[in-house]
């Protein structure tokens, strides 16, 4: 059992849930306090000690089912099938009762495993198969080809053959002691069915063990978690959930920023001001004054591509930007596909989600249903809005630079960068694709202070933290 829990802990870690050693120990302590006949209690106890982020709960639930319930359910199903095949007037309780009475005055040697089969005790069978699995080293299974091998070893560990022999012997004794042929027939049929069920279950057990070690599975799992899910294939439901997530991440960044600021702000001890401040106390320094370090807040200008291939990156970036508004003196935002227009006012007049929806729909300033033309968009910005850029401004461009073979007009980007403090480009495509096909990213690249790939929330929040608010 302990080993099993450690394994499960590792599985959680592999799936990206952070579980510390101390928390693993807490889990053991918790299990000591509980009676674990109920699966839900067991599940809650492990959860409350090891999984502390609500976002990780769905991951936990799925892994728990895979790891703990998968085999239990499979075994139960097999057993039910075995009993189901017994004919309409078969009464298990009756048979077991008769058996118990007969066994009382008999001296038979039955292994735990044989007894568990005889009494159709699913929990006991599960326990024994798991133990046999450990003995057989099934944890080392690597691939499908080994399923047969490990299943056989588990059967050996269970001493499946031996138990079968014991059961046959028992039947002989029962016959000798006068049990009716009819009942013996039933018992024989039942034991046969149960042994088949166990054989199949052991195989299933081995398969599940392999599943748990299967890295593809974990990989898929990780991809599906929203943090790392690509912006390209979000469902509407995802977008809604993500909105919350962005919000949460923004709050987190905000508190990190405020801590950082507080630390920075507290400068050197300022004697002169301390004396002056404490004149009222007769010069006794009750209140100390520290010199304030003042750091200029940056201005932010965001140019968002809102064509459908990039709109989610733009959406979440802007949500970040506006959630972190107090980090900047001013945010101005522009949207473009081919034309470019300013949507700053939208964010003043509406609440953030409303503004986002409108902005991504062109915000009444541009026509969103055209083909992307970055050259044209930059040219409009250069012509009409260049004066808003100054040496304290960070300009962020979000787009895939897929220009439909139009003129890239890279010189406009050059002129913008010249005036700005820096220019950051966020591109949902990976650098390998930059400059290929109709991508003109390579033409803009020389004028970007930073250009980063960003395709999921994790990358985006890291970017926002490192590049924009630091």
């Amino acid at each position: 059992m302990e080993r099993k829990i450690l394994e499960f802990t590792n599985l959680l870690r592999k799936a990206g849930v952070r579980v510390s050693v101390a928390e693993g120990i807490d889990a053991f302590n918790a299990l000591d306090e509980l009676s674990l006949d109920e699966r839900d209690v067991f599940k809650d106890a492990l959860r409350t000690t090891m999984v502390k982020r609500s976002d990780d709960i769905p991951t936990y639930d799925r892994l728990f089912d895979l790891f703990w319930s998968g085999f239990h359910d499979a075994l139960r199903e097999q057993m039910e099938q075995a009993l189901g095949g017994m004919g309409a007037d078969f009464d298990l309780e009756d048979l077991l009762e008769n058996l118990r009475q007969a066994l009382e005055n008999m001296d038979v040697d039955l292994s735990d495993f044989a007894q568990a089969m005889l009494s159709v005790d699913i929990n006991q069978l599960e326990q024994l198969i798991r133990e046999a699995g450990e003995g057989a080293g099934v944890a080392n299974i690597q691939n499908m080809l080994q399923i047969g091998f490990f299943s056989r070893r588990i059967m050996e560990q269970l001493d499946f053959e031996g138990a079968g022999g014991q059961l046959r012997e028992l039947m002989d004794q029962l016959r000798a002691s006068g049990m009716s042929e009819e009942e013996l027939g039933e018992l024989g049929q039942l034991m046969g069915a149960i042994q088949d069920a166990v054989r199949r279950s052991v195989r299933r057990f081995t398969e599940l063990e392999l599943d748990q070690r299967n890295h593809d599975y974990l990989e898929r799992f990780r991809r599906e978690s929203l943090q790392e899910k690509s912006f390209y294939n979000l469902t509407e439901e995802d977008v809604r959930k993500m909105r919350e997530l962005v919000n949460r991440l923004a709050q987190k960044l905000k508190s990190i920023v405020s801590m950082r600021r507080k630390r920075q702000r507290r400068g050197k001890f300022d004697l002169k001001h301390t004396m002056r401040r404490n004149m009222a106390h007769g010069g006794i320094p009750f209140e100390l004054v520290f010199r304030q370090k003042r750091k200029e807040k940056p201005k932010l200008i965001v140019l968002c591509d809102i064509s459908s291939s990039v709109s989610n990156v733009s959406r979440f970036f802007m949500q970040f930007a506006y959630s972190l508004q107090d980090t900047f003196t001013k945010i101005r935002s522009y949207v473009f596909v081919a034309e470019l227009g300013e949507v700053t006012q939208l964010f003043r007049d509406n609440d953030i989600y409303e503004a986002l929806d409108q902005a991504l729909d062109g915000g009444d300033v541009i026509n969103p249903y055209t083909r992307s033309n970055f050259g044209m968009a930059f040219h409009i910005f250069w012509r009409d809005f260049l004066s808003t850029v100054d040496s304290r401004t960070t300009v962020v461009v979000i787009g895939d630079a897929r220009n439909n073979y139009n003129d890239a007009k890279a010189w406009c980007v050059r002129e913008i960068q010249k005036k700005a403090r820096n220019l950051i480009w966020i591109n949902p495509e990976s650098p390998g694709a930059w400059g290929f096909g109709d991508s003109v990213m390579d033409k803009y690249l020389p004028y970007c202070d930073v250009a980063e790939e960003c395709r999921n929330l994790k990358q985006l929040s890291r970017l926002v933290d490192h590049l924009i608010i630091r």
């Binding site: 509980l34 009676s35 209690v41 959860r47 409350t48 982020r53 987190k252 801590m259």
Partner: protein, 331 residues
């Protein structure tokens, strides 16, 4: 006040909380039970109004322990949570003891000697007499076991969280002038959070984690029946069904349990015995605060009522009563 016996089993928790008027599932009961056994704080997270604060209160009642509540807010600092020196009292004593102080420094000639003499008496002025304990300190020094509720910890500053972390790990307080005080009993601690800010991993590692979500339909109905006795059965059912559906909409703020209860009470005052479109529309502002949310809920309400009407018709085609005019007394 003597505390009652600790919880025996998970079921015992469930039952004793129910006795206090709190309906909880196995999940909550298991974690409360573990907290009491392992002596670990519980971090309770979840949306607003799902009964996080209430949980701490009823656990205290069920154990007959005193509840000490520390309400967190931005700017809350150590001194307000732990202890403060009572300056005015110290000053007052200094005034009143002026003559005695004169005696103490009698015979000294230099300022330095006088200060030295007074310094020897320091501990008179910096003793427990002048300490005003705040909730954390009270919890630690209490003779009886108590329950400490650190409410809305997410509203506090990150610096305060770091301080809490220390207190929660060893339950001792050091007052430089007095010394270190160790807790007589490790109190049960509940921290609640609305997730305005994510708590650090360090804090989370020290706590058991409980996530309370909006209740399932059946459980919410149970809560409603218990908290609003006498409510018409059909009204209660329809109400909860509607609330559950409203929570499924894309809202700025989903209605909480307490809002469900308020709403039910309001509808009772209006003598409602079933959901009536006009009346519900007039009172939606009890459960929803944003205009956009109210509009969405209204659409959902019409849908639900239509479905219900259609279902009723299919079941038993009978004469429909003429609609009764009911005036809104709210607004």
């Amino acid at each position: 006040m003597k505390g009652l016996k600790m919880f025996d089993t998970v079921d015992d928790v469930e039952k004793r909380l129910l006795d206090q008027g709190y309906i909880c599932g196995k999940n909550i009961a298991t974690i409360v039970y573990l907290a009491s056994k392992l002596k670990k704080p519980v971090l309770v997270e979840g949306p607003a109004g799902v009964g996080k604060t209430e949980l701490a209160k009823v656990v205290a009642q069920a154990l007959n322990q005193k509840l000490l509540r520390l309400q967190c807010y931005e700017g809350l600092d150590e001194s307000k949570a732990l202890y403060e020196w009572e300056y005015s009292k110290q000053l007052l004593y200094t005034q009143m003891l002026r003559d005695k102080i004169g005696e103490v420094i009698k015979g000294t000639t230099t300022l330095r000697d006088a200060a030295e003499k007074i310094g020897e008496q320091d501990d008179v002025f910096f003793s427990e007499r002048f300490v005003v304990p705040r909730p954390l300190m009270t919890a630690i020094t209490s003779e009886e076991p108590v329950l400490l509720l650190i409410d809305e910890v997410d509203k506090s500053d990150p610096e305060f969280e770091a301080f809490l972390l220390e207190v929660l790990s060893d339950f001792t307080v050091s007052i430089p002038e007095i010394g270190t005080i160790h807790a007589k009993h490790i109190p049960l601690v509940f921290l609640t959070s609305n997730d305005a800010r994510e708590m650090t991993d360090a804090l989370k590692r020290r706590c058991l984690h409980l996530y309370i979500d909006f209740p399932e339909e059946a459980q919410e109905l149970e809560i409603l029946r218990m908290k609003v006795p006498g409510i018409d059965d059909r009204l209660a059912q329809d109400l909860v069904e509607l609330i559950q559906r409203i929570r499924g909409l894309d809202l700025k703020k989903a209605p909480s349990i307490s809002e469900t209860l308020d709403w039910a009470r309001a509808l009772m005052v209006l003598n409602a015995d079933k959901l009536d479109e006009a009346m519900v529309s007039d009172t939606l502002n009890i459960i929803l605060k944003h205009q956009g949310d109210i509009a969405k809920a209204q659409t959902e309400l019409s849908k639900l009522l239509q479905q219900k009407a259609a279902a009723a018709k299919a079941e038993q085609p009978q004469q429909v009563d003429p609609p009764v005019e009911k005036k809104s007394i709210l607004h």
